[in-house]
Point group: C2
Chain length 158, copies 2
DNA sequence: TATAAATTTTATAAATTTATCTGATACTCT
DNA sequence: AGAGTATCAGATAAATTTATAAAATTTATA
């Protein structure tokens, strides 16, 4: 799993949000139900996006969250970095000390190129582009159930 | 961090082991001291490699671990998969449900290619090739100290 | 202005990963 | 055979990530 679960949920929530185009603010509760995860957990995650000005929020009745900018202007990289930080694109792939220096490991150059390409992939893709497949977004809700069940049974068996 | 800490330690330990070329068996205790990590923890990790026939072990005095095959025949991928499993090269990068099906997300193809290239990178590189830079291997010992300090202070400050 | 709806903040719990410890077993050597 | 050395296996502990709950704050509107 290249991204943290939080980053995955953030992306899934924002994708859901693109399906609510007309509404001014959408409550986190609603999104949480649609994604089938805890309202509180989602709040926590989305707050990070509010602080990074990817979302704006409004309290009280008729409140909720909304995009700060339009989804066309939000790249996947924006979201990923807001949640997981830019550190996931840093460091030696083997965890070797001082590998970034003038005497790197033999995988270094190759890894750097691949990592940059991953980063480029995320920055090339806007939320709006990903949102062009609403069917996929709707399907993605069930995944959480499966994940939770999988980790539970894994615990029991092994 | 693309690889788990265990996988990183496994690689570092095997790299260390290549520096002990002449000896028949090297004790895990010795390796653990060189890497500056817990002897017991390293045991646990290396046991996985024993079970996967990457290492062989021998109990008692003059015992320890040794390569089952020569480092030339061991790829980085062998080690990574032995510890982290092949799952790290599977699934949708965004965690979307059924993304692998006939209706994938718009990042899917691009991610698949990159992921395959990462896998290829690991399988192209043998332990022996990485071991050709003994200075780097020796330096890598200190990294663990830094990591441990970093996570401790992180805890205290934030 | 009171009430209900919503986010925000803080606390708590569960699960997983990371790390250490202990006892058992196997082996070498004298 | 006995003493010492080393892995092996399973239990335990600490740290981090993942998830939930409860209390505090803000806001719309009746």
């Amino acid at each position: 799993m290249f991204l943290s679960r939080e980053a995955e949920y953030a992306i899934q929530a924002l994708l859901r949000l693109t399906l609510h185009k007309d509404e001014h603010y959408v409550s986190i509760k609603t999104l949480a139900k649609e994604l089938n995860i805890s309202e509180y957990y989602l709040s926590k995650i989305l707050q990070k996006l509010v602080k990074k000005n990817i979302l704006k929020s409004h309290k009280g009745p008729k409140g909720g969250i909304a995009f700060f900018d339009s989804p066309e202007k939000i790249s996947m990289l924006d979201i990923v970095v807001a949640i997981d930080g830019k550190e996931i694109f840093e460091g030696c792939v083997l965890g070797l000390y001082r590998c970034e220096s003038d005497d790197p490991c033999s995988l270094h150059e190759r890894w750097l190129k691949l990592r940059d390409q991953i980063q480029q992939m995320f920055s090339d893709e806007s939320l709006a582009q990903l949102g062009e497949n609403p069917e996929l977004i709707r399907r993605s809700q069930k995944f959480i159930n499966i994940k939770q069940k999988a980790s539970k049974s894994k615990n029991k068996i092994s």
